[in-house]
């Protein structure tokens, strides 16, 4: 397998070059697969209200709340599927849940 396909075995890799027994050599390479396009609604962080309890981080099924240094850091919109669980577990109403494409104040674009 050549360098280009080190992280992900691309669809154009022929059968001669795929790994033996279909082994995936890069642990955790699903992070190169975006699931953000599934979203119809998106969570938006309201910094002023956030008490950094990290319950949103704990309950996110998609590892899409990124904690930085023990605090809320940002949403990972590349992978967030917009399930809204973080919105409901937030004890201080610090997460807005808006339609995809809509904008709101305090919006955090992530990347």
């Amino acid at each position: 397998m050549n360098k280009k396909h080190e992280k992900v075995i691309a669809p154009d890799v022929g059968w001669r070059n795929v790994t033996r027994a279909g082994i995936i050599p890069t642990a955790g390479n699903a992070e190169y697969y975006e699931t953000g396009g599934w979203r119809t609604k998106k969570p938006v962080w309201i910094e002023d209200k956030c008490i950094h309890c990290l319950l949103c981080w704990r309950f996110c099924p998609d590892s899409s709340v990124i904690a930085e240094d023990g605090k809320f850091g940002r949403f990972d919109y590349e992978h967030c599927k917009g399930c809204g669980i973080c919105v409901n577990v937030c004890p201080s109403d610090a997460i807005d849940f808006i339609d995809e494409g809509e904008t709101s104040e305090g919006r955090n674009d992530g990347e």
């Binding site: 075995i9 697969y33 309950f59 996110c60 099924p61 998609d62 590892s63 904690a67 669980i85 409901n88």
Partner: protein, 307 residues
Amino acid sequence: MATLKEQSKKEQILTGGHRLCAGCGHGIAVRMVLNAAEDPLVIGCATGCLEVATTIYPYTAWRSSFIHNAFENAAATISGVEAAYKSLKKQGKIKDDFKFIAFGGDGGTYDIGLQSLSGAMERGHNIVYVCLDNGAYMNTGIQRSSATPRGADTTTSPVGKVIPGKQQFRKDLTAIMAEHNIPYAAQASPNNWRDLYNKAKKAFEVEGPAFINVMAPCPRGWRYNTPDIADILKLAYETRYWPLYEVENGEWKLNYKPKKYVPVEEWLKLQGRFRHLFRDENRYIIDEIQAEVDRRWEVLLERCGEK
């Protein structure tokens, strides 16, 4: 007990980009359990939603070694890996310490994988087995399993003129595993994340097999409002339908005792799979479920020395 702040500083083993449904309980439960591990892991999976969604070729959502074999033998597979590790370690070919964990859904654990799980527990491998109980074969289209609650509407126990949903009560797998006299068996709900974290930590620490049964709601199969998962998980133990308890070396311990009596219908009514039970002609099923929940709760209290 690690605070969320401390937990969040550890590397997250499950990455984003897996293909579990939005709001799936599996992702939550798995992340909580894996956070409690101190050593590098080898993770096994029975066939099921988790395995299918996290390892779609050529991607893997696991930042660790991962092995999948078949539906019925996750416990046998992971115990084989553990036995090989022990041998290689003895020969000096592996230096580092590893822990071994297998995840299975209720189909792969209660039903299809029960014999291999029972065998692995009896042989005393140093493994952790986590059952993610979403109460049906969700991956293949919501067919009933032996974990499906009485009265639930599934595609193989469909509500109609002939039957009003599943006719049997669910199997009590946690108790069955505890009766294997393994060092550690527990039942948990991710809503009580402290409790689940502590249980996962104990499971990793004990020498020998450990089993944890974790409730993992399925928005598709249970038909509830996806963001409300925490309420569903909480009512499950508040109504005593899913008691939180652990069995350490044969000693039963109740981890949470609801302060007031909450009828099980509070939990049922949030879920579309039980909607038909609220029609007049089916109310008797709710009474039957309540009677069974109460009966099992009394048995549990007795086992835990609470009465």
